[in-house]
């Protein structure tokens, strides 16, 4: 035959899972088109029961142990066997290179991470706002698994009123991504749910590889609720973990994260209450001080006001001391002034009367006929005593009496001349 020694062959396992309880495992390796996923080549393999233990041992001792199953890429060392009765060429598995599978898984995972990171899918759920008090939790895990019990008991331990809606979900195997997606969809429909938790216990890389699913990641990105995950492993973080809002390594850790949120909220609540109380106290103290200041201001102002009145009163008091006295002394002065005026007036009056009398005497003196007679004038009367003023009063022969200053002369009219006075006579 043309294949005296063994060959290394790589490919994706197909038809392995149906062999579960059989001693010899017959399956296939195939090569797929990287884009279309169409099968390009296929060949049958067998692991004989005698070799199975050896292969399993190698896988177990490998770092990040995995087990053989469908859809994983493997590299086997095989002997080529031709079975003439069936005319079939079959490869008999002798050895396995686990590093190849792990590398493949890691490579595929890295490619997916890069793609999902670049298109923003990984960050979408992280942008959702965390509920302040996430007490209503949708739980995606296998019911009654260790993960479920760890998660629930940790929540119970906290004593907070968590309400958990558990959706029993496949947590390993090929059907996991679809079931997880369905579970996310179902839980999202529950009203008042605060967050969804996806958790399971740790496992091999191959066990967890179903969580490196683009399908799950896209579902998480589209989910309206924050998704918390606790799937991963000390070393292996699944892409589901990367896409989650928050991830923790174990179910217990994710439960602690939730109780931590509640605790933080309660603490902040207490702090706020304290802050409010302190703020109020501070404010009251401040207002109290202000009121006291106001009270003192009131006292000072009224003090000033009353003081002013005091001063006004003092002015009036001062006036009352002096005003009436002034009034009386003014009255006295007026009396004195009156007396003086009176005396002066009387004196003036006497003086004036005196002058008047003197003038009068002089006038009467001037007018006296006696004085005129002395100056040489005489008064001539008729016999009846009437004054002779006109020639018309007498005729020739009329008797006349003439008074002189020192006596009287009696005579008769001898001749009458009419007209003006004749100085020549």
């Amino acid at each position: 035959m043309g294949f005296p020694s063994g060959i290394w062959i790589c490919g994706e396992i197909q038809g392995y899972n149906r062999n579960r309880d059989k001693s010899h495992i017959f399956f296939e390796l195939c090569e797929k088109d990287p884009l279309t996923k169409d099968i390009l080549a296929r060949i049958g393999l067998v692991i004989f029961s005698g070799r199975k233990m050896f292969i399993e041992q190698i896988l177990k001792s490998a770092e990040n142990a995995f087990s053989l199953k469908d859809d994983i890429e493997v590299k086997f060392y095989c002997k080529v066997d031709f079975y003439p009765p069936h005319g079939v060429v079959r490869l008999i598995v002798e050895n396995i290179d686990p590093v190849y599978t792990l590398g493949k898984i890691a490579q595929e995972k890295q490619r997916l991470i890069t793609l999902l990171r670049e298109n923003g899918t990984l960050d979408k759920n992280k942008k959702l706002e965390l509920p302040v008090v996430p007490l209503n939790i949708g739980l995606i895990t296998s019911h009654d698994s260790a993960a479920y019990n760890d998660f629930i008991s940790e929540l119970q331990l906290s004593g907070y009123g968590f309400k958990v809606f558990c959706r029993n979900t496949l947590m390993q195997g090929k059907a996991t991504p679809a079931d997880v997606c369905k579970a996310i969809a179902e839980l999202s429909r529950i009203e008042n749910l605060d967050a969804i938790v996806i958790t399971r216990g740790g496992g091999s890389i191959a066990d967890l590889s179903c969580f490196d699913s683009q399908q799950i990641v896209e579902k998480i990105a589209a989910c309206r609720l924050p998704v918390f995950s606790g799937i991963g492993h000390e070393i292996n973080i699944t892409i589901t973990d990367l896409a989650a809002h928050t991830y923790q390594k174990t179910p217990t850790a994710i439960a602690q994260f939730l109780t931590g949120l509640i605790k933080t909220f309660l603490t902040s609540l207490e702090e706020r209450v304290t802050a409010i109380v302190n703020g109020a106290k501070e404010k009251l103290k401040l207002e109290n001080t202000r009121l006291k200041t106001y009270a003192h201001d009131v006292q000072n102002c009224t003090g000033d006001y009353l003081q002013q009145h005091h001063l006004d009163l003092a002015q009036r008091q001062q006036f009352l001391k002096e005003g009436p006295q002034r009034l009386l002394s003014n009255a006295l002065r007026r009396i004195k002034t009156g007396k003086e005026t009176l005396l002066k007036d009387v004196a003036n009056r006497f003086k004036a009367e005196d002058v008047r009398l003197k003038n009068f005497f002089r006038l009467t003196e001037l007018a006296s006929p006696l004085k005129t007679l002395k100056r040489g004038f005489s008064i001539t009367r008729l016999t009846d005593g009437s004054l002779l003023r006109s020639v018309k009063q007498v005729k020739t022969g009329s008797a006349l009496v003439t008074d002189l200053s020192d006596g009287r002369v009696e005579g008769t009219v001898n001749k009458i001349f009419k007209g003006g006075r004749n100085d020549g006579d």
Binding site: N288, L291, K292, A295, H296, V298, Q299, T302, G303, L306, H309, H310, D312, L313, R316, Q317, F319, L320, G323, P324, L327, L328, N330, A331
Partner: protein, 66 residues
Amino acid sequence: MTEIKYSKAIKKLDEIISRIEGEEIDVDELADNVKEAVDLLKVCKNKIEKAQLDVKKVVDGFTAEN
């Protein structure tokens, strides 16, 4: 008899003062008027002192309470 108000007392006092100042008061009535003025002065003074004391009492009471 109700107690006379401060403002009324001051008004009356001022009236008397201005009449004394203007010498409109009969000398016969001067002494009576001055006596009335002094009485009013006393009333006003007492009122101010009482108000001062009351204000102090109220403010002290308030600040002691708080």
